[in-house]
Amino acid sequence: MTTRTSRSPRWPWVLLAISAAVAVTAAMVVGPDAVQGQLSRILYVHVPSAWLAFTAFGVTMLMSAMYLWKRDLAWDRRAHASAEIGVVFTGLAIGLGMIWAKPTWGVWWTWDARLTLTAIMFFVYLGYLALRRTTDDLEARAKRAAILGVLAVVQVPLVHFSVVWWRTLHQPPTLIKPEGIDMDASMFVTLMVSLAAFTTAYVAMMYKRVELARLEDELLVAERSTDGPVAGAAVSTPSIDGGA
Protein backbone atom coordinates (compact mmCIF):
# COMPACT_ATOMS: atom_id res chain seq x y z
CA MET A 1 0.00 0.00 0.00
CA THR A 2 1.25 3.51 -0.79
CA THR A 3 1.78 5.59 2.32
CA ARG A 4 1.72 9.34 2.07
CA THR A 5 1.77 11.83 4.90
CA SER A 6 0.40 14.81 2.95
CA ARG A 7 -2.78 16.42 4.26
CA SER A 8 -5.63 17.50 2.03
CA PRO A 9 -5.25 21.12 0.84
CA ARG A 10 -7.21 24.00 2.33
CA TRP A 11 -7.80 25.95 -0.87
CA PRO A 12 -10.97 24.02 -1.85
CA TRP A 13 -12.57 24.96 1.49
CA VAL A 14 -11.65 28.62 1.06
CA LEU A 15 -13.03 28.52 -2.47
CA LEU A 16 -16.15 26.77 -1.19
CA ALA A 17 -16.77 29.44 1.47
CA ILE A 18 -16.55 32.18 -1.16
CA SER A 19 -18.61 30.39 -3.82
CA ALA A 20 -21.26 29.29 -1.28
CA ALA A 21 -21.64 32.89 -0.06
CA VAL A 22 -22.05 34.12 -3.63
CA ALA A 23 -24.48 31.32 -4.51
CA VAL A 24 -26.69 31.84 -1.44
CA THR A 25 -26.78 35.60 -2.07
CA ALA A 26 -27.63 35.10 -5.76
CA ALA A 27 -30.38 32.58 -4.94
CA MET A 28 -31.93 35.01 -2.49
CA VAL A 29 -31.61 38.10 -4.70
CA VAL A 30 -32.83 36.66 -8.03
CA GLY A 31 -36.52 37.25 -8.75
CA PRO A 32 -39.06 34.48 -8.19
CA ASP A 33 -40.42 32.41 -11.08
CA ALA A 34 -43.54 33.87 -12.75
CA VAL A 35 -45.50 30.63 -12.24
CA GLN A 36 -43.98 28.89 -9.24
CA GLY A 37 -43.16 31.98 -7.17
CA GLN A 38 -40.73 31.59 -4.25
CA LEU A 39 -40.87 27.80 -4.53
CA SER A 40 -38.65 28.00 -7.60
CA ARG A 41 -35.67 28.83 -5.34
CA ILE A 42 -35.44 25.12 -4.45
CA LEU A 43 -34.24 24.75 -8.05
CA TYR A 44 -30.89 26.32 -7.07
CA VAL A 45 -30.21 23.48 -4.63
CA HIS A 46 -32.12 20.58 -6.18
CA VAL A 47 -30.59 20.78 -9.67
CA PRO A 48 -26.97 21.13 -8.44
CA SER A 49 -27.53 18.20 -6.03
CA ALA A 50 -28.72 16.02 -8.89
CA TRP A 51 -25.84 17.23 -11.11
CA LEU A 52 -23.36 16.42 -8.37
CA ALA A 53 -24.86 12.96 -7.86
CA PHE A 54 -24.47 12.16 -11.57
CA THR A 55 -20.94 13.60 -11.61
CA ALA A 56 -19.95 11.70 -8.48
CA PHE A 57 -21.17 8.37 -9.84
CA GLY A 58 -19.47 9.06 -13.18
CA VAL A 59 -16.23 9.72 -11.29
CA THR A 60 -16.76 6.51 -9.29
CA MET A 61 -16.96 4.59 -12.56
CA LEU A 62 -13.81 6.24 -13.94
CA MET A 63 -11.83 5.71 -10.72
CA SER A 64 -13.04 2.09 -10.53
CA ALA A 65 -11.91 1.48 -14.11
CA MET A 66 -8.55 3.09 -13.28
CA TYR A 67 -8.19 0.79 -10.28
CA LEU A 68 -8.89 -2.29 -12.39
CA TRP A 69 -6.24 -1.09 -14.84
CA LYS A 70 -3.53 0.16 -12.48
CA ARG A 71 -4.31 -1.85 -9.32
CA ASP A 72 -3.34 1.11 -7.13
CA LEU A 73 -5.49 1.48 -4.01
CA ALA A 74 -5.41 5.27 -4.36
CA TRP A 75 -7.87 4.93 -7.29
CA ASP A 76 -10.14 2.74 -5.16
CA ARG A 77 -10.16 5.34 -2.38
CA ARG A 78 -11.17 8.02 -4.87
CA ALA A 79 -13.98 5.79 -6.20
CA HIS A 80 -15.20 5.13 -2.66
CA ALA A 81 -15.09 8.81 -1.70
CA SER A 82 -16.97 9.84 -4.82
CA ALA A 83 -19.67 7.16 -4.32
CA GLU A 84 -20.23 8.26 -0.72
CA ILE A 85 -20.60 11.90 -1.74
CA GLY A 86 -22.86 10.83 -4.62
CA VAL A 87 -25.16 8.93 -2.25
CA VAL A 88 -25.43 11.96 0.04
CA PHE A 89 -26.31 14.28 -2.84
CA THR A 90 -28.72 11.78 -4.41
CA GLY A 91 -30.55 11.65 -1.08
CA LEU A 92 -30.52 15.45 -0.97
CA ALA A 93 -31.85 15.71 -4.53
CA ILE A 94 -34.67 13.25 -3.74
CA GLY A 95 -35.54 15.00 -0.47
CA LEU A 96 -35.55 18.48 -2.01
CA GLY A 97 -37.56 17.20 -4.96
CA MET A 98 -40.18 15.86 -2.55
CA ILE A 99 -40.35 19.20 -0.71
CA TRP A 100 -40.91 20.90 -4.07
CA ALA A 101 -43.41 18.26 -5.26
CA LYS A 102 -45.84 18.51 -2.34
CA PRO A 103 -47.03 22.09 -3.02
CA THR A 104 -46.62 21.74 -6.82
CA TRP A 105 -48.02 18.29 -7.59
CA GLY A 106 -49.98 17.84 -4.34
CA VAL A 107 -48.08 14.68 -3.35
CA TRP A 108 -44.68 13.95 -1.80
CA TRP A 109 -44.05 11.13 -4.25
CA THR A 110 -45.41 10.14 -7.63
CA TRP A 111 -44.61 7.12 -9.79
CA ASP A 112 -42.68 9.15 -12.28
CA ALA A 113 -39.88 7.47 -14.24
CA ARG A 114 -37.24 10.04 -13.21
CA LEU A 115 -38.15 9.85 -9.51
CA THR A 116 -38.35 6.08 -9.39
CA LEU A 117 -35.11 5.52 -11.29
CA THR A 118 -33.31 8.08 -9.11
CA ALA A 119 -34.47 6.22 -6.00
CA ILE A 120 -33.25 2.96 -7.57
CA MET A 121 -29.88 4.56 -8.38
CA PHE A 122 -29.67 5.60 -4.71
CA PHE A 123 -30.13 1.97 -3.64
CA VAL A 124 -27.60 0.69 -6.19
CA TYR A 125 -24.91 2.89 -4.67
CA LEU A 126 -26.04 2.05 -1.12
CA GLY A 127 -25.37 -1.53 -2.19
CA TYR A 128 -21.93 -0.44 -3.43
CA LEU A 129 -21.15 1.06 -0.01
CA ALA A 130 -22.57 -2.01 1.77
CA LEU A 131 -20.38 -4.25 -0.40
CA ARG A 132 -17.28 -2.38 0.75
CA ARG A 133 -18.11 -3.28 4.34
CA THR A 134 -18.16 -7.04 3.75
CA THR A 135 -14.40 -7.55 3.92
CA ASP A 136 -11.32 -5.97 5.51
CA ASP A 137 -9.02 -7.29 2.81
CA LEU A 138 -8.10 -4.08 0.99
CA GLU A 139 -7.28 -5.67 -2.35
CA ALA A 140 -10.36 -7.92 -2.40
CA ARG A 141 -12.60 -5.04 -1.36
CA ALA A 142 -11.16 -2.76 -4.00
CA LYS A 143 -11.52 -5.31 -6.78
CA ARG A 144 -15.12 -6.23 -5.98
CA ALA A 145 -16.16 -2.63 -5.48
CA ALA A 146 -14.45 -1.58 -8.72
CA ILE A 147 -16.41 -4.15 -10.75
CA LEU A 148 -19.69 -2.98 -9.23
CA GLY A 149 -18.63 0.65 -9.59
CA VAL A 150 -18.18 0.18 -13.34
CA LEU A 151 -21.40 -1.84 -13.74
CA ALA A 152 -23.60 0.46 -11.63
CA VAL A 153 -22.99 3.55 -13.75
CA VAL A 154 -25.55 2.23 -16.27
CA GLN A 155 -28.16 3.78 -13.95
CA VAL A 156 -26.92 7.33 -14.61
CA PRO A 157 -27.93 7.61 -18.30
CA LEU A 158 -31.15 5.72 -17.48
CA VAL A 159 -32.07 8.41 -14.94
CA HIS A 160 -30.98 11.29 -17.17
CA PHE A 161 -32.80 10.13 -20.31
CA SER A 162 -35.88 8.80 -18.47
CA VAL A 163 -37.65 12.15 -19.03
CA VAL A 164 -36.99 11.81 -22.76
CA TRP A 165 -37.82 8.12 -23.17
CA TRP A 166 -41.04 8.12 -21.14
CA ARG A 167 -43.90 10.63 -20.83
CA THR A 168 -43.26 11.74 -17.27
CA LEU A 169 -44.57 14.30 -14.81
CA HIS A 170 -41.01 15.47 -14.18
CA GLN A 171 -40.08 18.23 -16.58
CA PRO A 172 -37.80 17.35 -19.52
CA PRO A 173 -34.20 18.67 -19.60
CA THR A 174 -33.99 22.47 -19.46
CA LEU A 175 -30.24 22.96 -19.81
CA ILE A 176 -28.83 19.97 -21.68
CA LYS A 177 -30.95 19.73 -24.85
CA PRO A 178 -30.34 20.30 -28.57
CA GLU A 179 -32.70 23.31 -28.88
CA GLY A 180 -30.67 25.34 -26.37
CA ILE A 181 -31.39 26.71 -22.89
CA ASP A 182 -35.03 27.37 -22.05
CA MET A 183 -34.65 29.63 -19.00
CA ASP A 184 -34.65 33.29 -17.95
CA ALA A 185 -31.10 34.76 -18.09
CA SER A 186 -30.98 35.82 -14.41
CA MET A 187 -32.21 32.43 -13.25
CA PHE A 188 -29.73 30.71 -15.54
CA VAL A 189 -26.80 32.72 -14.14
CA THR A 190 -27.92 32.02 -10.56
CA LEU A 191 -28.19 28.32 -11.34
CA MET A 192 -24.69 28.32 -12.85
CA VAL A 193 -23.27 30.05 -9.76
CA SER A 194 -24.98 27.46 -7.57
CA LEU A 195 -23.66 24.63 -9.76
CA ALA A 196 -20.13 26.05 -9.38
CA ALA A 197 -20.52 26.26 -5.59
CA PHE A 198 -21.78 22.67 -5.38
CA THR A 199 -18.97 21.45 -7.62
CA THR A 200 -16.46 23.20 -5.35
CA ALA A 201 -18.11 21.45 -2.38
CA TYR A 202 -17.63 18.15 -4.19
CA VAL A 203 -13.93 18.84 -4.79
CA ALA A 204 -13.38 19.88 -1.16
CA MET A 205 -15.21 16.83 0.17
CA MET A 206 -13.35 14.54 -2.21
CA TYR A 207 -9.96 15.74 -0.95
CA LYS A 208 -11.01 15.28 2.68
CA ARG A 209 -12.73 11.92 2.20
CA VAL A 210 -9.83 10.49 0.21
CA GLU A 211 -7.47 11.58 2.99
CA LEU A 212 -9.73 9.93 5.58
CA ALA A 213 -9.97 6.75 3.49
CA ARG A 214 -6.16 6.63 3.28
CA LEU A 215 -5.89 6.99 7.06
CA GLU A 216 -8.54 4.29 7.56
CA ASP A 217 -6.59 1.92 5.31
CA GLU A 218 -3.33 2.69 7.11
CA LEU A 219 -5.01 2.04 10.46
CA LEU A 220 -6.37 -1.28 9.20
CA VAL A 221 -2.93 -2.36 7.99
CA ALA A 222 -1.31 -1.19 11.26
CA GLU A 223 -3.84 -3.12 13.34
CA ARG A 224 -3.17 -6.25 11.33
CA SER A 225 0.60 -5.99 11.59
CA THR A 226 0.66 -5.34 15.35
CA ASP A 227 2.70 -8.05 17.09
CA GLY A 228 0.51 -10.10 19.40
CA PRO A 229 0.63 -13.46 21.09
CA VAL A 230 0.73 -16.10 18.36
CA ALA A 231 -1.68 -18.51 20.03
CA GLY A 232 -3.52 -16.02 22.19
CA ALA A 233 -2.87 -14.98 25.77
CA ALA A 234 -3.40 -18.52 27.12
CA VAL A 235 -0.09 -19.75 25.68
CA SER A 236 3.24 -18.16 26.57
CA THR A 237 6.69 -18.68 25.11
CA PRO A 238 8.87 -21.01 27.23
CA SER A 239 12.06 -19.41 28.57
CA ILE A 240 15.50 -20.97 29.33
CA ASP A 241 15.33 -20.43 33.13
CA GLY A 242 12.08 -22.37 33.27
CA GLY A 243 9.92 -19.38 34.13
CA ALA A 244 6.60 -18.70 32.45
Partner: protein, 221 residues
Amino acid sequence: MTGFWAQVAVIARTELVRERRAGQVLWITIPFGAIAILLVPIAIGTDAPMLRRIGPGLFWMVVMLFGVLVAVRRSSLDTLPVRDQLALAGVDPAAAYVGRAAAAFVLLLAFEVVVGLAAVLVYDLGSGLLIAPATLLLAAAGLALLGTLAASIVSAGRDGSALVPLLVAPLSVPLLIGATQAHEAFELGRSSLGWVLMMVVTTVVLAIAGVLSAGPLQETG
Protein backbone atom coordinates in the same frame (compact mmCIF):
# COMPACT_ATOMS: atom_id res chain seq x y z
CA MET B 1 -7.87 -29.19 -19.06
CA THR B 2 -10.46 -29.27 -21.83
CA GLY B 3 -11.74 -26.34 -23.93
CA PHE B 4 -13.82 -23.42 -22.73
CA TRP B 5 -17.27 -24.78 -23.62
CA ALA B 6 -16.46 -28.23 -22.32
CA GLN B 7 -15.53 -26.62 -18.99
CA VAL B 8 -18.78 -24.63 -19.07
CA ALA B 9 -20.76 -27.83 -19.62
CA VAL B 10 -18.97 -29.65 -16.78
CA ILE B 11 -19.49 -26.76 -14.33
CA ALA B 12 -23.16 -26.35 -15.30
CA ARG B 13 -23.79 -30.07 -14.99
CA THR B 14 -22.05 -30.22 -11.61
CA GLU B 15 -24.10 -27.27 -10.36
CA LEU B 16 -27.34 -28.92 -11.48
CA VAL B 17 -26.38 -32.24 -9.90
CA ARG B 18 -25.58 -30.46 -6.63
CA GLU B 19 -28.90 -28.64 -6.82
CA ARG B 20 -30.75 -31.91 -7.51
CA ARG B 21 -29.20 -33.37 -4.37
CA ALA B 22 -29.81 -30.28 -2.22
CA GLY B 23 -33.24 -29.50 -3.74
CA GLN B 24 -33.12 -25.92 -2.51
CA VAL B 25 -34.67 -24.32 -5.59
CA LEU B 26 -37.20 -27.10 -6.17
CA TRP B 27 -38.39 -27.46 -2.59
CA ILE B 28 -37.86 -23.97 -1.17
CA THR B 29 -37.51 -21.19 -3.76
CA ILE B 30 -40.23 -22.31 -6.21
CA PRO B 31 -42.85 -22.94 -3.49
CA PHE B 32 -41.85 -19.61 -1.89
CA GLY B 33 -42.53 -17.80 -5.18
CA ALA B 34 -45.86 -19.61 -5.61
CA ILE B 35 -46.90 -18.62 -2.08
CA ALA B 36 -46.08 -14.98 -2.91
CA ILE B 37 -48.44 -15.20 -5.89
CA LEU B 38 -51.15 -16.47 -3.51
CA LEU B 39 -50.47 -13.91 -0.78
CA VAL B 40 -50.79 -10.80 -2.93
CA PRO B 41 -54.60 -11.01 -3.42
CA ILE B 42 -55.02 -11.56 0.33
CA ALA B 43 -53.19 -8.28 0.93
CA ILE B 44 -54.65 -6.10 -1.83
CA GLY B 45 -58.07 -7.63 -2.43
CA THR B 46 -59.51 -10.44 -4.51
CA ASP B 47 -61.19 -8.33 -7.18
CA ALA B 48 -60.84 -10.59 -10.28
CA PRO B 49 -60.65 -7.85 -12.98
CA MET B 50 -58.02 -5.98 -10.97
CA LEU B 51 -55.95 -9.16 -10.51
CA ARG B 52 -56.20 -9.88 -14.24
CA ARG B 53 -54.90 -6.35 -14.90
CA ILE B 54 -52.00 -6.36 -12.44
CA GLY B 55 -51.25 -10.11 -12.54
CA PRO B 56 -48.52 -10.06 -15.21
CA GLY B 57 -46.69 -7.26 -13.40
CA LEU B 58 -46.92 -9.14 -10.11
CA PHE B 59 -45.58 -12.27 -11.77
CA TRP B 60 -42.52 -10.44 -13.09
CA MET B 61 -41.96 -8.76 -9.74
CA VAL B 62 -42.00 -12.14 -7.99
CA VAL B 63 -39.59 -13.51 -10.62
CA MET B 64 -37.14 -10.62 -10.15
CA LEU B 65 -37.27 -10.56 -6.34
CA PHE B 66 -37.50 -14.27 -5.57
CA GLY B 67 -35.43 -15.38 -8.55
CA VAL B 68 -32.41 -13.81 -6.84
CA LEU B 69 -32.58 -16.64 -4.33
CA VAL B 70 -31.61 -19.03 -7.12
CA ALA B 71 -28.27 -17.24 -7.44
CA VAL B 72 -27.57 -17.43 -3.71
CA ARG B 73 -28.65 -21.04 -3.27
CA ARG B 74 -26.50 -22.92 -0.80
CA SER B 75 -25.55 -25.55 -3.36
CA SER B 76 -23.81 -22.90 -5.48
CA LEU B 77 -21.79 -21.02 -2.87
CA ASP B 78 -18.60 -19.75 -4.46
CA THR B 79 -16.37 -20.26 -1.42
CA LEU B 80 -12.63 -19.81 -1.24
CA PRO B 81 -11.85 -23.57 -1.16
CA VAL B 82 -14.10 -24.10 -4.21
CA ARG B 83 -12.28 -21.31 -6.07
CA ASP B 84 -8.89 -22.70 -5.11
CA GLN B 85 -9.93 -26.15 -6.28
CA LEU B 86 -11.14 -24.79 -9.63
CA ALA B 87 -7.97 -22.74 -10.06
CA LEU B 88 -5.77 -25.75 -9.27
CA ALA B 89 -7.76 -27.83 -11.76
CA GLY B 90 -7.00 -25.22 -14.41
CA VAL B 91 -10.60 -24.16 -14.90
CA ASP B 92 -10.95 -20.86 -16.74
CA PRO B 93 -12.66 -18.39 -14.31
CA ALA B 94 -14.83 -17.13 -17.18
CA ALA B 95 -15.93 -20.72 -17.92
CA ALA B 96 -16.79 -21.20 -14.24
CA TYR B 97 -18.89 -18.01 -14.36
CA VAL B 98 -20.71 -19.00 -17.56
CA GLY B 99 -21.24 -22.54 -16.26
CA ARG B 100 -22.76 -21.29 -13.00
CA ALA B 101 -24.92 -18.79 -14.89
CA ALA B 102 -26.07 -21.54 -17.27
CA ALA B 103 -27.17 -23.72 -14.33
CA ALA B 104 -28.93 -20.72 -12.74
CA PHE B 105 -30.62 -20.07 -16.12
CA VAL B 106 -32.09 -23.58 -16.21
CA LEU B 107 -33.31 -23.28 -12.61
CA LEU B 108 -34.75 -19.80 -13.20
CA LEU B 109 -36.58 -21.01 -16.27
CA ALA B 110 -38.16 -23.77 -14.17
CA PHE B 111 -39.01 -21.16 -11.53
CA GLU B 112 -40.64 -18.91 -14.17
CA VAL B 113 -42.71 -21.73 -15.65
CA VAL B 114 -44.06 -23.01 -12.32
CA VAL B 115 -44.73 -19.55 -10.83
CA GLY B 116 -46.11 -18.34 -14.18
CA LEU B 117 -48.50 -21.28 -14.29
CA ALA B 118 -49.62 -20.44 -10.75
CA ALA B 119 -50.17 -16.79 -11.79
CA VAL B 120 -52.14 -17.79 -14.91
CA LEU B 121 -54.40 -20.05 -12.86
CA VAL B 122 -54.84 -17.89 -9.76
CA TYR B 123 -55.19 -14.51 -11.47
CA ASP B 124 -57.12 -15.91 -14.45
CA LEU B 125 -54.56 -14.50 -16.90
CA GLY B 126 -54.43 -15.27 -20.58
CA SER B 127 -51.85 -17.76 -21.72
CA GLY B 128 -49.83 -14.84 -23.20
CA LEU B 129 -47.65 -14.85 -20.11
CA LEU B 130 -46.28 -18.27 -20.91
CA ILE B 131 -46.34 -18.27 -24.70
CA ALA B 132 -43.87 -15.41 -25.10
CA PRO B 133 -40.72 -17.54 -24.92
CA ALA B 134 -38.33 -14.72 -25.83
CA THR B 135 -39.30 -12.71 -22.75
CA LEU B 136 -39.12 -15.71 -20.43
CA LEU B 137 -35.76 -16.84 -21.83
CA LEU B 138 -34.20 -13.37 -21.75
CA ALA B 139 -35.45 -12.61 -18.24
CA ALA B 140 -34.07 -15.94 -17.01
CA ALA B 141 -30.75 -15.40 -18.81
CA GLY B 142 -30.34 -11.80 -17.62
CA LEU B 143 -31.24 -12.60 -14.04
CA ALA B 144 -29.00 -15.68 -14.02
CA LEU B 145 -26.02 -13.67 -15.32
CA LEU B 146 -26.68 -10.79 -12.92
CA GLY B 147 -27.29 -13.01 -9.90
CA THR B 148 -24.21 -15.13 -10.58
CA LEU B 149 -22.07 -12.01 -11.03
CA ALA B 150 -23.42 -10.46 -7.81
CA ALA B 151 -22.88 -13.73 -5.93
CA SER B 152 -19.26 -13.83 -7.19
CA ILE B 153 -18.68 -10.21 -6.17
CA VAL B 154 -19.90 -10.65 -2.60
CA SER B 155 -18.69 -14.21 -2.04
CA ALA B 156 -16.34 -14.89 0.88
CA GLY B 157 -17.33 -11.58 2.44
CA ARG B 158 -19.28 -10.97 5.63
CA ASP B 159 -23.08 -10.98 5.07
CA GLY B 160 -22.36 -11.94 1.47
CA SER B 161 -25.55 -13.80 0.60
CA ALA B 162 -27.67 -11.17 2.36
CA LEU B 163 -26.18 -8.47 0.17
CA VAL B 164 -26.88 -10.16 -3.18
CA PRO B 165 -30.59 -9.18 -3.34
CA LEU B 166 -29.69 -5.55 -2.59
CA LEU B 167 -27.28 -5.56 -5.54
CA VAL B 168 -29.45 -7.55 -7.93
CA ALA B 169 -32.88 -5.99 -7.37
CA PRO B 170 -32.01 -2.43 -8.48
CA LEU B 171 -29.79 -3.58 -11.34
CA SER B 172 -32.51 -5.89 -12.68
CA VAL B 173 -34.74 -2.89 -13.45
CA PRO B 174 -34.01 -2.91 -17.23
CA LEU B 175 -35.04 -6.60 -17.30
CA LEU B 176 -38.21 -5.92 -15.31
CA ILE B 177 -39.19 -2.97 -17.51
CA GLY B 178 -38.41 -4.93 -20.69
CA ALA B 179 -40.36 -8.02 -19.59
CA THR B 180 -43.47 -6.17 -18.39
CA GLN B 181 -43.59 -3.81 -21.37
CA ALA B 182 -42.99 -6.61 -23.89
CA HIS B 183 -45.83 -8.58 -22.33
CA GLU B 184 -48.14 -5.56 -22.42
CA ALA B 185 -47.27 -4.88 -26.07
CA PHE B 186 -47.90 -8.56 -26.85
CA GLU B 187 -51.31 -8.44 -25.14
CA LEU B 188 -52.27 -5.26 -27.02
CA GLY B 189 -51.14 -6.72 -30.34
CA ARG B 190 -48.32 -4.18 -30.74
CA SER B 191 -44.70 -4.86 -31.63
CA SER B 192 -42.62 -5.71 -28.58
CA LEU B 193 -39.36 -5.78 -30.52
CA GLY B 194 -37.94 -2.63 -28.88
CA TRP B 195 -38.44 -4.01 -25.37
CA VAL B 196 -37.07 -7.42 -26.33
CA LEU B 197 -34.01 -5.67 -27.81
CA MET B 198 -33.55 -3.78 -24.54
CA MET B 199 -33.49 -7.10 -22.70
CA VAL B 200 -31.04 -8.55 -25.23
CA VAL B 201 -28.68 -5.57 -24.78
CA THR B 202 -28.92 -5.83 -20.97
CA THR B 203 -28.21 -9.57 -21.10
CA VAL B 204 -25.22 -9.11 -23.43
CA VAL B 205 -23.79 -6.33 -21.24
CA LEU B 206 -24.16 -8.52 -18.15
CA ALA B 207 -22.52 -11.46 -19.92
CA ILE B 208 -19.56 -9.32 -20.99
CA ALA B 209 -19.23 -7.79 -17.50
CA GLY B 210 -19.36 -11.22 -15.89
CA VAL B 211 -16.81 -12.80 -18.21
CA LEU B 212 -14.41 -9.84 -17.95
CA SER B 213 -14.62 -9.68 -14.16
CA ALA B 214 -14.34 -13.44 -13.58
CA GLY B 215 -10.52 -13.40 -13.66
CA PRO B 216 -10.01 -10.47 -11.26
CA LEU B 217 -12.65 -11.88 -8.90
CA GLN B 218 -10.92 -15.24 -8.72
CA GLU B 219 -7.72 -13.49 -7.66
CA THR B 220 -9.43 -11.72 -4.74
CA GLY B 221 -9.84 -14.86 -2.67
